[in-house]
């Protein structure tokens, strides 16, 4: 067993874990953060993407022990004070999801992308989310969602869309 101390979505945890436990397993099985999903074994699909110390990572390719001392944000910690993150709102507004399975990872990848490049063109969005597979949408509305979120996040952009409240509370 190895010890891991980690902050996940604002809560501090200290746990003993098997060294072989993946971060995504730790999140899902130990912390009940089942919003983060698993879609493959080879780090292709990106469904498990979370933010680790502010950078997007595939939590299936990080050991839980490697996250010791870090701060993790999952899809469940993205909305703050009952308000959706603009990327979440934009995915709803632009129909950027269908079955929803790739969505948590896709949103986390998009948040990272926009942190890096606040105004990406279509090509940059497509390259920026190339580590995330979606089988439903053909990506077009995901790209629209990301660009819409960029618009919403631009200071003084004149876009009135306030972050939408999280339906059913958070």
């Amino acid at each position: 067993m190895a010890q891991v101390r980690v902050t996940v979505d604002g809560v501090n945890y200290a746990d003993d874990v098997e060294p072989r436990m993946l971060l995504v397993q730790y999140l899902r099985e130990r912390l009940g953060k089942t919003g983060t999903l698993i879609g493959c074994d080879t780090s292709n699909c990106g469904a498990c993407t979370v933010s680790l110390n502010g950078q997007s990572v595939k939590s299936c390719s990080v050991l839980a022990v490697q996250a010791d001392g870090t701060e993790v944000t999952t899809i469940e910690g993205l909305a703050r004070d009952g308000q959706l993150h603009p990327v979440q709102s934009a995915f709803n507004e632009c129909h950027g999801l269908q079955c929803g399975y790739c969505t948590p990872g896709m949103i986390m990848a998009a948040v990272d992308l926009l942190g890096d490049n606040p105004d990406p063109d279509e090509h940059e969005v497509r390259e920026g989310i190339e580590g995330n597979l979606c089988r439903c949408t053909g990506y077009q509305n995901i790209v629209r969602s990301v660009q819409r979120a960029a618009q919403m996040m631009k200071p003084g952009s004149g876009v009135t869309s306030e972050p939408a409240p999280v339906a059913g509370g958070n």
Partner: protein
Amino acid sequence: MTTTAEPTTLEFGKARTRKEDARLITGRSRYTDSITLPGMLHLVVVRSPLAHATITGVDKSAAEKAPGVFGVYTAADLGAEGIGLPCAWPITPDQKAPPRPLLASTTVSFAGEGVAVVVARTAGEAKDAAELVEVDYDPLDPILDMEAAAQDGAALVHPDLGTNVSATWVFDSAAAGTGDDVAAAISAAEADADSVVVRRRFRQQRLIPAFMEPRSVVVDPNGEQVTMWSSTQVPHILRTMTTVTTGIPESKLRVIAPDVGGGFGGKIGVVPEEMLTLLVAQKLHKPVKWTETRSESLLAAHHGRDQIQDLTITAKKDGTVTGLDVHLYADMGAYLGLVGPGVPVLGAFMFNAIYKIPAYKFTCTNVFTNKTLTDAYRGAGRPEATFAIERLMDELAVELGRDPLELRKQNWISHEEFPYTTVCGLTYDSGNYEQATDRAVELFDYAGLRREQEERRRNGDKVQLGIGISTFTEMCGLAPSRVLGSLAYGAGGWEAASIRMLATGKVEVITGASGHGQGHETAFSQIVADQLGVPFEDVEVLHGDTQISPKGLDTYGSRSLVVGGIAIVKAAEKVVAKAKKIAAHLLEASEDDIEFNAGQFTVKGTGQGKAIQEIAFAAFMAHDYPEDMEPSLDSDAVYDPENFSFPHGTHLAAMEVDTETGRVTLRHYVCVDDVGNVVNPLIVEGQVHGGLAQGIAQALFEEANYDDQGTLVNGTFVDYTLPSAADLPSFTTEHVSTPATSNPLGVKGVGEAGTIASTPAIVNGVIDALRHLGVKNVEMPCTSQRVWRAIQDARGTATQETPVDTHSPGAGLGSIDPNNPQGEIQ
């Protein structure tokens, strides 16, 4: 009739954002693998690495002693040797359908078939122990080539059957009385200097549905009913088939499909793992979960397509098509899937597509091989048919020196001819191919791109341009029960709905359709809001749980709206009829004088009225209601469609081909689809986009191949190459509408359209770019290597065959030999 859809009411036609998104964008989803029950155990399947072998021994002893292990079971240990998963579609009376065992006992028939299961406290411990199960195999030669397997004297997958041919299914328009004799048409064309005969062989490669959520099952055996959560498209069919398979009384089983992460036909089956999880849970009296890995999913979940198509089309030199003969081999894999043998049959009625073809014959030979079984994958039979005919129309155009679009127009059913009964005997109720094509041509700038193509050819540009056309139709809205009966399908095609009017005026809608990403909750709410005149927000759509929705036939074949949606309309009509009686009673008017509009019951010519919510409350209170009825507005309906629906559209692709490297790039894609009236344009657009991506992926990216030992070589997402966002462009999509006349909403279905239409558009475009170089065909997927080889062949430069069946020694993860991992991997 030619109209653009007009919203007839407030909600119909509105681009509502989806209700179901709220939980999915916040991580409050509930997929099966996210379910954890107290005391739950985990099941792992020990799978055969060999495609064909005799099992000579299973040594469980080490595994049984491993930490956390509750049990290691073979079929015999579970009393499951006699249990076989049934096939629900005997396409011919003499179809050979060996039952698919839950676990192989004596012979392994495909790589990935289960041999034993291990049950342990954690999934990790189960996996650790599974590696300790020693299975001894005597390898047998695998039978892998479907065409060779179908010949007399071939080695047999199932020796007791005496053949690898499961069934041969024939449709002959002459015999059916729906058209002429195709053999006569071909002989006549061959003898006629004024006719042409074009023969082609196309290959529909094997695909993997590759839904994003791996399959998962949780069974809780404790309680009055055994509860099974499954990542399935078909909870109702799963319940019935579980009863048929294991004998558990249907009334003792509750099946729940919670959030399901995509299906595309891939979750239409009833699979061994569902039955095994149930049997083990019952045996141990503990909840048990099975969740597959992606590799398991690619290996053992059913595959799609995999046909060889031999086609003969005849035409007059003026372009009039006179006959079409279709011979298919369809690879079933080692066993028949739930509806697998019927997949090619679903295509049988679509080879003639939108064209007036006087003579038609379809013959399909379903063949067993030592491969994973095939079954429905988005479009199921119809993409294969559409590909064949649309590729063939291009080939015919070349043969005749005609513009491919003009040739199509000459042969298609013109809009004045609807309703039109085809050479297959289907009646297309509505459509307007001219309208969709004209709009697509305009959006695409067809003439401008033809000019550019000409210019590039003249200049000998390195990157050539091709224009791909697909003017498709499909039959969907599966399906009229009587038609299914005539095809020996093992179920009906109806759908059920119930509406409950709650005391406070809110509405619960129960549907037997089981959504898994399509947006049912939103679209059905829109329909009900209009039908009952209640706010969209007041409608709750419930589905996917046999305790809540006891009756249904689930979601596949673009049926949810055109069958399930109409069932909801029928139930709503009954609610309104009941409410009208109570309204008349309360308003002291004759029922004939009551009008219903936008949720209000009013007495004709007076200002007096009551809202439907008031009536619902009155029915709940039941203090004052008519003598001759029960105090309830709640209503059920079962809708059995009278016909299929026939969406159509024109898809145009501008393909750029780098003739140096063979790299194919989709530059521009335009499609104009006619899916009838549109409930929610946002959802329709999303369905089209996703469908296009899957169809394009068949044309360009995806293939599941086996090596000469019968090992799947595309066993991870490293090797089974799904396109990412960076591999696709944005599409230009529009719709026109000729409302369906076969249902009250005028809707046609959209789930499969994009997939069915796009594959031939892409391949036609690739070949069109290279035709002047002498290239006549490129097999799918049109990888850079295949395209480059086609160009070399056309130039007469000998190259080797494109290998498809080798593991990649130099490609990342695929490069690591599983039997000999080595090196400094960091």
